[in-house]
């Protein structure tokens, strides 16, 4: 922040939360940003995910990034104005439904404490039941994070996109990148809407990012596309003021202010990159439904009114790729493996730092794209 940075032409590819947040921070810092999206903003995983804004249950090396993101979430109004009301902080609770879950949870809280993190705390069943009087059966305790919550994903993504535009970025939707090649000191991006020149390129293309990196001359990255799946029910009186999960399971359960329950978590529908959509396979949600009815028997009679999925890119170690590529002027931010929504604001900031040669707030070492090269 000491020297004035030169104004560079930056192309951000991918209008998901990472790309929109990156474009927002870069434009805010005076860069000349073009955000290219092949469909429309938030079309895939970013716009249609469960909207969980959680620090709970993160891989330890992701926690500093997640905590940094939470700082931005709580002051979201400063970043995206008008859309910040889409974030609903409450509390996140991951309960144990058996002895195994109980042991798993206690060990988790303990190990985090030893690593110096105190945001996850253990709650006994009685405390859980006083917070959630509508719970049907007893639990074996659970992990609580106060202040975690949920957001309306597409509105947050829209918010970052609009903020980027307000700061001077150009948004180009329905624009598919066909090719990407070095051009002198910079890049030439050929797209379905013409050719763009850039000094640097930020690759936030989600499930399509590895193919894009390959075109840019990067080593192969082991990304696989899947489509996490969700279901929403009809409206019921409010009984659940928190976001819930179950230890040892992939359930995610919340109740929106409309009274609708959103049930999902971890289940992967088939992703069809060519057809640009995920095939919803409802029966795969059956075990999540059973867990939801175990927690709240009343949910059994609600009607599922819609199921959907969004295509997301997964890495083998379930950690994202955030860092500079082998090629000069290329920065990657993808592979969030279905838990990147909460990280988004901090990732956007970190990507902006990488592009501008600044030291990011938190270490990105664990997310280095090169970590797969040695493994191979």
């Amino acid at each position: 922040m000491t020297m004035p940075t030169p104004r560079e032409r930056i192309i951000v590819i991918g209008g998901g939360i990472q790309g929109c947040a990156a474009a927002c921070f870069l434009a805010k810092r005076g860069q000349q940003v073009t955000l290219i999206e092949k469909d429309h903003i938030g079309r895939h995983a970013s716009g249609v995910n469960a909207g969980g804004v959680r620090r709970l249950g993160r891989d330890p090396c992701e926690i500093p990034l997640s905590l940094a993101a939470m700082d931005i979430w709580t002051s979201l109004d400063d970043e995206i104005g008008g859309h910040a009301d889409a974030f609903h902080p409450c509390f996140y609770l991951k309960v144990a439904l058996d002895e195994a879950g109980h042991a798993l949870g206690l060990a988790r809280v303990d190990s985090l404490r030893q690593a110096g993190f105190r945001h996850e705390v253990w709650l006994e069943d009685s405390d859980i039941r006083s917070r959630l009087p509508h719970l049907s059966g007893r639990t074996f305790g659970g992990i609580l994070v106060e202040g975690d919550g949920w957001a309306v994903p597409w509105r947050i993504v829209q918010g970052f996109a609009r903020a980027a535009v307000r700061h001077g970025a150009t948004l180009v939707e329905d624009c598919r990148v066909l090719d990407l090649k070095r051009d002198g000191e910079g890049w030439q991006v050929n797209s379905s809407k013409g050719t763009f020149a850039a000094d640097q390129v930020v690759n936030c293309a989600g499930a399509w990012a590895a193919a894009l990196a390959r075109r840019a001359g990067e080593p192969a990255l082991p990304l696989s596309p899947h489509a996490p799946m969700l279901a929403v029910t009809d409206r019921r009186p409010p009984i659940l003021p928190a976001v819930m999960g179950v230890l040892g399971h992939t359930l995610s359960l919340k109740q929106l202010d409309t009274g609708q329950f959103v049930i999902g978590g971890g289940v992967r529908a088939r992703a069809d990159l060519d057809k640009n959509r995920g095939e919803v396979a409802i029966p795969e949600l059956a075990s999540s439904m059973r867990l939801a009815t175990t927690l709240f028997a009343d949910i059994a009679s609600t009607q599922i009114i819609r199921c959907w999925s969004g295509i997301e890119g997964y890495m083998p170690d379930n950690l994202p790729v955030i860092g500079r590529g082998r090629q000069p002027g290329l920065v990657h931010g993808f592979g969030f493996s279905a838990h990147g929504f909460q990280l988004g604001p901090a990732v956007g900031e970190a990507l902006a730092d990488l592009v501008m040669g600044r030291q990011p707030r938190v270490s990105l070492e664990a997310f280095d794209p090169r970590r797969f090269e040695s493994a191979a």
Binding site: D39, E279, I282, P283, M289, I299, Q303, I304, R306, C307
Partner: protein, 464 residues
Amino acid sequence: MTAGSHYDLVIIGAGPAGMAAGIEASRGGLRVLILDDQPAPGGQVYRHISQNAVRREAVPYLGGDYWSGQALADAFAASSAELWSESRVWQITGDRQVFLSRHGAAQSVSAGAILIATGAMERPMPVRGWTLPGVMSVGAAQTMLKTAGSGADGAVFAGSGPLFYLTIWQYLQAGFAVRAVIDTAPAKMTLAQYWLALPALLQPGLLLKGLRWRAAIRRKTDYFVQATSVAITGEEQVTGLSFTDAGGKRQTIPAEHLFIHQGVVPNVSLTMASDLAHRWCSRQLCWHPRTDLFGESSVAGIFVAGDGMGIAGAAAAVSSGRLAARRIIARARGIALPMAPVWRLLKWRQAAIRPFLDSLFRPPDEWRVPQDDKAIVCRCEALTKADVAAAIALGVSGPNQLKGYCRAGMGRCQGRMCSLTIQKMIHDHGGQPEDKVGHLRIRPPIRPLTVGELAALANDDANA
């Protein structure tokens, strides 16, 4: 998850197309299952036919076309096709698994081939006041007549289309008084329509029947034609209807019961949710699944028959059901299917009157998009035309992006009631052709499915 039983052919919908296919395929030696959401087979057109047949004298007003379905229903009952009534199919997958709810639990069956014969639904009619108590669709009025013999004395009918006239005629035959009939079909027939009328002469019986209905209606009701600027009045309950008549005079008709109708469109919920390719039919102003001559869709092994592939009426539905069944039998047996051109000709012959009817009863724009800003467009989310228009003005690339902007189409009807209206509004705003605007993505479950029913699938798994 445990795999359900396997059938050579699973048919969804026991209307004329489904029953005909079931009869044909079981005769051909296939193991056939028909899934139908009603208590008894018949579909919409032959609804309740077996129950009505035993008291035929009590319900003479249903007419000869209706009773012509009885032979089909009898043949179906006598066939070896298995029927599961009150079964709600909520998803089929590309690998031909059929998921359904029945007796309060979800289950699945697998199929060698699937035939979707889910018929037609009434085109939604979003005019101001269409959601008021006392306003019903003409199809709903006819359903009450068929199932319970009940009707409303002194009702007013507004709209157009073959079903509109048939139902009014049935109402009159049943002895109910009809206060007024307001036909909204546009003014005069054009020259093109006269040309289209030529093949319709191959079906003189149908033409004469239409003229007979019209004459009866003219005789027994206050009959208005070429009505425009129709507005439904009332605050808590419908109180009447106002419109501009053919002479340009504003008319007001009081009504406690108002039945409205603007034709029928294929019910594409299941075909769209199953990811079959569709094409926009500019003649019928609705989406049709893309199929080959035999009704096979863009997904191999999934067929469509009947009005669900394009509105052509009950007789053509029977032919298309049989044709699909023959193709499925031939494929299962590994034999060639002769006579295809004959079938095609027959199908065309049975629907010869369609282009004429489609043109005559083409819904005017004012019934496709409300004129009044306060008219409800999306019933589930209670969004008015103004609400949806404001979201469209933000600049959307299509109906699916619009969902994110204003929730239109995100309610429990999955856009069945607003999809065509939204599409037209986006078309009117941006000018791109309607087929390019596209339709709402329909996501399963397309029929009601409770969390508990779906949870039962996991329990089965655990016990397996």
